[in-house]
Symmetry: C2
Subunit: 443 residues, 2 copies
């Protein structure tokens, strides 16, 4: 019974929908008690229960309505399923800079398919031009779908694939690359590419959006335009993440791939540069470079590709009563490195010291970051910090915990030797360490 | 050889110090290469190596100088060890409100002892008055040393001890209580007391400092005065955390115990209210209440003490390639609840779904929070969220991950039944859930 027409529905929910004669994509009015919900029926997943009917409301958000005896479902029509009519393809301007758009998935790369509720990549060049026709005035675009997954499923292996795809296009002479990517783990991927793509001649711009293109408040077009503009013409080179500077559409900022973090579940300016300023701002079609130590675009520079990552590296967030046997578990299961998200200036409770000592004695690299997020470690200030240094824990100064994790994964992709790994981890490779002077951090 | 005079030093470092005729507390000048360091010799810990000499510099910070052939140590004097002379005790004003100061340790509760380098509680009433004589004008103070530990070592058991001590003083008729506490885990303890001390008639104020009282930029006195002022006279009741509002000394703000987080390793305004505003501000001796839903001080209200916590609850921060066997480890080791710090609106990679499903089937309570920190979950928006809801993962809306952890520890201190635990976890007990209307969270 559970065919395409009511994909994923079972039990009570399926019965109620069948009774109403509803199919995926139909517009429904669901009444329960005094509440009425209206929207388009979307399919459910394999993990779904048998009690909820999910509709996409006009706001763009989905809601699950629980079905019981008192629920009434009424089919109010086929609904206005948006027809996606590609306008005539704009004339390709071969005089413009060549930019590669390498899609990986996520909200920005999607048109919501009302029929299936699924997210589908909209990334043939003609799809893109039809959604954001202004792109044709900025660059001669070549598109490639590298992945099509939600970013919470991205792995180290995917980072390698993306890095290799970017390298191909850069070596092929593109003026820059744009990588649409889900925002959930966009910061992690930005850090990964910062280490994997060294000595870049051009800008590589990761970009996401917090609202899909079908919602009135979508940031997808503005962010994409900003990213493509930067890839085509910005004066800087390296790996950056482009998103809204504030909740207004006025400016796009470019964050360093190693210093950026998602800091709000839903705001459009969710990404923040931590312990530094963004590298540049784009406003009224004009780039303002904010970071003095920013590498310049230079087509003579030769990209160095180092795309390998080791997955056996962990991030451990410390908390009161943290069970030190978790550290032992990682050591016993062949993990090569552990990045600790400690408290304050870089501390963990004494109860963890024996397990950390044992880890280090067994050649597991242990590094420290702070769950405060902002600020710099100071492991010489209190006893706990000095004791941890004495045990051999490496302080990562003002590096983000997430960047510390990604860097350690990358480090063990480059070497299996712990001493060399320690040296690499403490070497500034992609501005992951801020010099004390770049940012007023302490008052 | 390694006696009190050179406590903790061994090997090369010990030899060099003996050669210089130095003792703990002496002022030294250490030259190495072109660098010269000056400061007071402080002792080292059991975990210390044999290569570093640690001195406390004029700035108040400690530095470890590595000893090698080229290092020269010179004793430049006994140094100006501060003498701690208690001024005459001010007259106790029994007409003033009675306030309990229950010390637990940390920077704010300490005088640095230059002789041992250790942190010592300065919390007899006369100690306190001598450090901050203005306290005598605010309240009739009774002091009690509940703990004397650095806050990274605080455990659930300590939360219980602190809660019971506060309850004793509140039941004894105090106008309020002040709890000096290290800042590292101050946010966790603030959440713990918010759940353990319900229906409070008076304010209970946790307070910390980022700089010890011996440093010129110390925030200890200002924070302590603000906290005691609030305990004595503020119009609100409940558990709050008092710290600097900005880096200036102008105002102290009072954060809700359940909505506050340490957000900078060293700044004095490190604590921020997340997804809400502070409850009140104290400036020029005047309280301004900022939160409309704030409970009022009411001596007729009867405290309900629920001081028990279950330590077998974990916080798991998700990251790319997170090994799902860690979830299995927690389940197999008898953990009763897991709070996940997921990505974005409340997601984890699909690779974790089978382990989470298994955990839930085995009656482990699994709850979701976001590593974004700011914002609210939206687990109905994307497939991953809906799938996790279908598995039985409980969304904690806009609750902080740390508060989620502490609340789940508290919940399993109240009941062993999973269904009752779920109900309690989703019930707003101490403003840990913000209503959508209190804060402009989304744009």
């Amino acid at each position: 019974m559970n065919d395409e027409k009511l994909l994923g529905y079972k039990g009570k929910a399926l019965q109620a929908l069948e009774k109403a004669g509803a199919e995926i994509g139909d517009r429904l009015r669901i009444s329960r008690d005094t509440q009425v919900y209206e929207g388009i029926l979307i399919p459910r997943s394999d993990y779904a229960d048998d009690r909820h009917v999910v509709i996409k409301m006009r706001s763009g958000y989905n809601i699950g309505v629980q079905i019981n005896e008192a629920t009434r479902i009424e089919k109010t029509g086929e609904g206005a399923k948006p027809s996606f009519q590609a306008p005539p393809l704009p004339k390709q301007r071969e005089d413009l800079p060549r930019v590669a758009i390498l899609s990986t998935g996520g909200t920005i790369a999607s048109r919501v398919d009302y029929r299936t509720g699924g997210v589908r990549p909209a990334l043939t060049a003609s799809d893109l031009y039809s959604v954001v026709p202004e792109l044709a005035d900025l660059a001669d675009i070549e598109t490639e779908i590298v992945l099509s997954i939600f970013s919470e499923n991205i792995t180290t292996q995917n980072w390698t694939e993306i890095a290799k795809a970017v390298a191909r296009h850069v070596e092929n002479g593109k003026a820059g690359a744009v990588i649409p990517h889900g925002t959930d783990t966009l910061g992690y991927t930005a850090a990964a590419l910062s280490f994997a793509l060294q000595n870049l001649p051009v800008p590589v711009i990761l970009v996401g959006s917090q609202r899909s293109a079908d919602r009135p408040s979508s940031d997808a077009a503005t962010n994409l335009l900003g990213a493509v503009n930067a890839a085509a013409t910005a004066p800087f080179a390296g790996v950056f993440l482009a998103m809204h500077e504030t909740v207004s559409d006025r400016a796009i900022v470019f964050h360093r791939g190693t210093k950026v973090r998602k800091c709000h579940t839903s705001r459009r300016d969710t990404f923040k540069s931590i312990n530094t300023t963004p590298v540049a701002r784009l406003e009224d079609d004009k780039f303002t470079v904010l970071a003095k130590d920013c590498e310049k675009r230079d087509s003579n520079r030769k990209l160095v590709l180092k795309p390998d990552f080791e997955e056996k590296v962990a991030l451990i967030k410390f908390f009161p009563n943290f069970d030190s046997r978790v550290v032992e578990w990682y050591v016993n299961n062949g993990f090569k490195g552990i990045v600790v998200e400690g408290t304050g200036l870089g501390h963990v409770g004494k109860r963890l010291f024996p397990a950390l000592r044992e880890a280090i004695e067994r050649d597991v690299l242990v590094a420290m970051t702070s769950q405060c997020i902002w600020g710099r470690l100071g492991m010489n200030v209190y006893d706990a910090g000095r004791d941890l240094l004495a045990l051999g824990v490496l302080p990562l100064d003002d590096m983000l915990p997430e960047t510390g994790l990604v860097k350690l994964m990358w480090v063990f992709g480059q070497t299996k030797k712990v001493d060399e790994a320690k040296r690499l981890l403490k070497t500034d490779i992609a501005h992951e360490f801020s010099p004390r002077t770049t940012y007023k951090e302490d008052s």
